[in-house]
C-alpha cells in the first residue's frame, strides 16, 4: 500500500475532522490532496503530533481529532501511547503510517524494520482499540469504524517507503498555525 493512496482513500472521511500531521511526506501528501484550515502540519518537534492531538482532543471533547503519525516519529515518543491510553479520549484517532524508514531524511530503516511492533506496543500500553492494516479496504473500514465510535483507536497502516517528488507546501508555518486556531474556534462556535 502506498501512503499517498491510503491518504486519498481516507480523505473523504477525515476532511471535515481536525487533523494534526507529522512533518515530511505525510504533511506534503495530505496538503496535495487538499488543504483545509482545520489541518495542522507539525513541521518539526518529531514525535509530538500525537501529544498535540491529545491536547486538542481533551480540550474539545465534542470534536473528532485525527493524528497522522509515522513510525519514526512515534518511536521518538513511545510514552505518548501510555499517556493517550491513560486518558482514552474517545474522540481521538491515532493513525500511524509505518514504512519502516525515516523516509524524509534519507530513508534509513527504523526499528520497525527489525521487528518492533507498534500495534503491539499500543495494545500493551492500554490503547483500547488497536489494529494493523495492510490494504486500503482494511484501512478505510478501520478509519470509518473509529470515527463512528467513541473509542480511542490506534491504527498502524503498513505502507511502502515511497514519498512525494516534492515536499513543497505553499503555506507558511505561522500562517497554518493562526489559520488552524481560527478554524478550531469556528468549529467550536458551530457546536455551541
Amino acid at each position: 500500500m502506498l501512503r499517498t493512496d491510503a491518504l486519498a482513500a481516507i480523505y473523504p472521511d477525515i476532511e471535515d475532522k481536525i487533523v494534526v500531521t507529522i512533518m515530511g511526506a505525510v504533511a506534503a501528501e495530505l496538503y496535495m490532496l487538499g488543504h483545509k484550515e482545520h489541518f495542522f502540519y507539525l513541521e518539526h518537534a518529531m514525535g509530538l503530533a500525537s501529544s498535540m492531538g491529545l491536547g486538542i482532543a481533551l480540550a474539545l471533547p465534542e470534536q473528532k481529532v485525527v493524528v497522522l503519525d509515522g513510525d519514526g516519529s512515534l518511536l521518538m515518543n513511545l510514552g505518548t501511547l501510555s499517556t493517550m491510553a491513560r486518558y482514552k479520549p474517545g474522540n481521538l484517532l491515532h493513525l500511524v503510517f509505518d514504512n519502516e524508514s525515516l523516509l524524509s531524511v534519507g530513508g534509513f530503516p527504523t526499528a520497525t524494520s527489525t521487528g518492533t511492533d507498534l500495534a503491539g506496543v499500543a495494545r500493551a500500553s492500554g490503547v483500547p482499540s488497536v489494529m494493523e492494516v495492510r490494504t486500503l479496504e482494511q484501512l478505510k473500514e478501520g478509519v470509518r469504524h473509529a470515527l463512528a465510535g467513541e473509542t480511542l483507536t490506534t491504527i498502524v497502516a503498513k505502507v511502502e517507503a515511497i514519498g512525494p517528488k516534492s515536499f513543497h507546501m505553499d503555506l507558511g508555518l505561522l500562517e497554518n498555525r493562526f489559520q488552524f486556531k481560527r478554524a478550531l474556534e469556528r468549529l467550536q462556535q458551530k457546536k455551541d
Partner: protein, 170 residues
Amino acid sequence: MPVSVTNSRLIYDALKSCDIKIISALPETWLVHLIRMADEDPDVTLVRLAKEEEGIGISAGAHLAGVNSALLMQNHGFLAAINPIVSLALLYKIPLLMLISYRGHFGEKDPWQTQGGLATEPILRALNIPIWHLTTPADVQRRIKDAQTLAHASLHPVAVLLSRELMWED
C-alpha cells in the same frame, strides 16, 4: 514531607484564577500537593505524563483549541523538554505557562539535583524565556497571572521558578 501545603494552595488558586483547564505534570517532591489539588479538581483535567516533552505538545494543542493550560515540571523536566520548547513552542509562537520547581539551587542538599540547578537559568536565558523567581507568598497570585498575561501577549513561553523558600518548610 515538609512541602508547603499553604503555598501550594496559593499557587493552585492563582492557576484557577487564570482559568486554567488543563494541567500537565510529572510527579516531583515539591509539586506533590499541586498535583493532588489538580487531580481532585473536577473542573481541571490533569494529564500525568510519561515525559515532560509530551506536555509541550499537549499545551500547544490546548492553546490552538482555545483552552488555557499550565505545565508543572521540575527543572530537570524542563531540561528534558528543550527540543519541543524550541521546535514547537518557539517555532510556532505558542504561549506556555511553565511552573518549574527550582531544584539544585541555594540550600539544595541532594547532590544529584545540583547540575540541573546550575543549568536552569542560563538555558532559560539562552532561549530568551522570561523568568520570574517566585519567593514570596504575597506575590504568588499577581505574578502567576502576570506570567500568563505575558505568555499570551508575546505568544512565547514564560517560566515561573518555584523557589525553595516558597515550596519547602524546613
